[in-house]
Amino acid sequence: MIMDNFEFAPAPPQRCPEAYGPRANNNQKRCFQLAQAFFKDGVRRARERNERQLDLERRLEDPAVGPRREQLWKLGGMSEAKYLRFLRTKEELSNYIPIKTIGKGYFGEVKLVRKKQDGKVYALKRLAKTEMVSHEQLPRVRAERDALAESDSEWVVKLYTTFQDSTSLYLLMEYLPGGDLMALLIKYQIFSEDITRFYAAEMIMAIEAIHNLGFIHRDIKPDNILIDREGHVKLADFGLSKGFSKSHDHSYYRELLQKPAPPNNKPANRNSVNLDEIALTVSNRAQINEWRRSRRLMAYSAVGTPDYIAPELFTGQGYSFEIDWWSLGAIIYECLVGWPPFASDNSYDTYRKIVNWRQTFFFPDDVYLHPNAAHLIRSLICDASSRLGSRGGAAEIKAHPFFAGVDFNSLRRIEAPFRPHLESDEDTSCFPVDELPQGEGFSNGPTNTNGTNGHQATASNFQEEEVTPEMCLPFIGYTFKRFEKTFM
């Protein structure tokens, strides 16, 4: 046998990607990532499809189904087919009719929209690509998309699809018409202990749900706690959330801390820690009112409010799931007291107070708190290692005497304290729509805090060749489509 005849052409001694031009190398990256993403998504979808088929067959075997078997089979097949068509459909902004702008952050803008194809309303969140790139927020948008896409919990806002065009990323979510907890706090200023217990208990369930998925939210605060049409809570805004496995990233906060204190119209406060520490007492209600007026605007700004963030996130010593329980403590405090524990008139001072929480945390003298409530808050606003929830997770907090008698598993079935009164499916009365720029389309880029930028999105300076938007390199794999039995 003459083996020589059957030799293979030799592989080049080494790979030379640098021998190719920038376009080829750019296309290489896209191709590499998309192939990866294709198989990852493909395997997940195939697995879910299989489970649905098996589930359907199991249900058909149930004798009680009887004459409805054919109907079951038919509906099963049709929902699979609708999903396949949904996967083929090109998602674009023009598939939606904008109704109103209902929310705003620095990178994002949330609009109530109506989908032309099914006539239903949704909340559509838009993130500007240029901003994401220039602020290096890519891990944040990935985190949000992944957390929402992977969760299938009644405690988390449902994400239907994500798509993109040359300027923006979009998240299509269920519309929660009840507004957010911040709006309720602005309206009522203070909650009774019973009402506080209800929201606290629901927040525990929501935080537990995302922790079970392996995500740390990292940005639990009243404007990210949404209220559904029944008045129950759902968690939103996973822009900062982190899968636990990934490396911890505190550079974002470190950067914030390194910034000089913002120019202040009350310069005396800036260098005077002591002054601030006593600032928020009863004697200083005026300052609280000032803080209340500006809190929405704070939510619109780049850094957002640090009021609810645990100290270990700033110091960079590492953190874990229990940072979300600190935030819960801060919100419970706010519900009962009327303002969050470290409120200041600028974020810089809030940061300092949080880092020095041992000296700065206190309950105001003139607000009566039940000892159980005060004890719960103190068990959450404390050192990470001794924080309630740091060892036994949510169960530890649920077992606190403050929640005695609460049946956590039936929470969503009891009547919520505030149920939104809705006139139609496009009712936005729970949202600060008057404060927000109400342009026809999405406004272009981040706005300043007085919100004057409301004109139509124009062609951006984001340069990508004649390439379909989902191929834009940094955002590959962003596009997601959920299977939804009742979607269409």
Binding site: F32, E80, A81
Partner: protein, 342 residues
Amino acid sequence: MSNLFSGINARLRGATAKHADKDKDSKPPASPTTKDGFLASPISVKKSKSSSNLVVSTKLPPLPTSPSLSQTISLSATGEEILASYRLPKPYPLWLNANYAKHIVKGNFMTLSARPKVVEQGEWIAHQVVEHWRNLWNFIQVVYAKEQDGKSICNINTCPKMSAGPNHSYTWLNSRYEPIELPAHEYMQLMQRWISGKIDDQKLFPTDPQTVSYAPNPSIANTTLLTGGDEWIGKRSGFPKDFASICQTIFLQMFRVYAHLYWAHFVDPFYHLNLEKQLNSCFCHFILTATTLDMLKPSALEPMQPLIDLWAANGTFPPDSKAYEYANLKAGNRLLQLAGLA
């Protein structure tokens, strides 16, 4: 020896050619006329070193799956002889070296292309066409896109013809339905335009959720049986009559591009750009899907037959797949042996 085997191959082809002959008179699917004046009908194949001239059927004939015939081949010849019958250049191309035929995914590829029983066949084919087109498009762009200086990796000098090795080149039909030879770059341009035109056509690939259907379940007594007579794949879901044949043509076109990418560009650029495993996985998934759905006939696979043999032999293709059935295990095992893996 090699003559004997090309004879058997010809017989195998003869079986398909019968269907093709029948359809020879039927017009190719309606296609948009391009700027260049070509009627973009990508449906003819010219085999430069073989007398048989295949025209791709525009109907959906049952594909020959004659196990006895393939057994004849495998019983009477050694792997080496079968390989010789392929008339491959020597040394063999790098992509036939099993050490370079590896993947970015593990496990059974068939889970990705298996149609759920409730889903109607036409709907599933449409889904697969779009998925595979998106995949292939990314690879095309790598060789097709022009750099600042106007040069692309696949150009008139590197690839004056749309070919897949020394034995196969593909032609395009011009407006008078005459087959013409084109540089690969130009061919791919026409082909991309033609396929995108089809996929974006709502009449061909509807996305309206209102018109969906399902696959009837024969074990459920009440299910209305198909009305006899005028039936076609996808009819229940609102796909047009020529849907399946157009999809066959799309799959065939995609196959030709894959074949060109392997024969002309596996090393330059895909190996150099670290994309050969990605290419392998996408092509492997493509072959399994296209054969399972009867979208590619065994005869069309010829330029890539040795790689298919190899993947059958090394366990990449599951034994119950059509691709495995179309493969020649002896040839594949021989390739494994030559690569020092058997």
